[in-house]
Amino acid sequence: MSAERTLLTDELKSWIGREVSYPAREELGRASIRYFAMALADDNPLYRDDAYAQEAGHPSLVAPPTFVVETCQYADRPPNHHGYIGHGWDLPIEGCRMIRAGNAYEFIRPVLPSDRVSVTWTLEDMVERPSSRGGSQLFVSSVARHYDADGELLAVNRETLVYQPLEGGT
């Protein structure tokens, strides 16, 4: 039924090495940090209480570590037809579903509400591998480097996404 298809076309290969940067329009701010901590149900006072955070040696309250690598708001893109606003390569891949395989973060320093963060995404590699369910799947690895307003590195996010062909007939 499933005719063997090559996912990694020459056109797709030409995407390897692409880079895109998104500068934030504004500082991160205390409210967005508090909302993020709330969404994680993390009541650590470091994320909501300046005095507490200063006591712990920070200049002010700080963001949960995974916030800096997540804030799609940096992208400042118009929503796509699914309402998605974050970074995406919009790879020309038809008839596949995309699954998040893994992320690896490196944190250089805690991110503050006063930080204006920019991010540069690089599409590092694409590899087609056999799938355990038969056929093949495409692994797309990217790296996002997050910088503060002075160009100092805040964090690095290595991300692997997998594109799997959908079963026919839905």
Binding site: S32, Y35, F36, M38, A39, L40, A41, D42, N44, L46, A56, G57, H58, V62, P64, P65, T66, F67, E70, T71, C72, Q73, A75, P79, H82, G83, Y84, I85, G86, R97, I99, R100, A101, G102, N103, A104, Y105, E106, F107, R109, P110, R158, L166, T170
Partner: protein, 140 residues
């Protein structure tokens, strides 16, 4: 507060309950707070009828963020150097999640004492949803 090198050894474990009965509301909160409005996580009809899933499921990054609490609780926020995960199963509304950190190594590097931990987050059925590694700096 943050553990010290003198207080831990390889093989030590630390357990934390991340969430009980995960609510769809929390997925919506995470969508808003992270800016990740992928409808797979907020629109049940889209998730079922367009994407072919049983329904909405949690952002991988939400599970990763909740699991990250184990790391920040153990090391203290400013001491977290590396944190990586693989997503092994989806997380669904109604799930109970708990996470366990196991100390894998305590070592010195560049004048710092570093601790490597392995992280496993499981649901109420014992299925592993996230496997991860983290490295933190500790005081002697």
């Amino acid at each position: 507060m943050a553990v010290k090198a003198s207080e831990i050894s390889v093989g030590d474990t630390f357990d934390e309950v991340l969430v009980e009965d995960l609510k769809r509301t929390q997925l919506v909160m995470y969508s808003g707070a992270s800016g990740d409005y992928n409808p797979l996580h907020s629109d049940d009809i889209y998730s079922r009828e367009v994407a072919g899933y049983p329904g909405v499921f949690a952002h991988g990054m939400l599970t990763m963020g909740m699991t990250g609490r184990v790391v920040t609780d153990l090391f203290g926020h400013e001491n977290v150097k590396k944190y990586g995960v693989r997503f092994t199963n989806q997380v669904w509304p109604g799930d109970d999640l708990k996470s366990q950190a196991v100390v894998e190594d305590v070592r010195e590097e560049g004048g710092e004492i570093l601790v490597d931990i392995k992280l496993t987050t499981t649901n109420q059925n014992g299925d592993v949803v996230v496997m991860g590694n983290a490295t933190g700096r500790v005081d002697p």
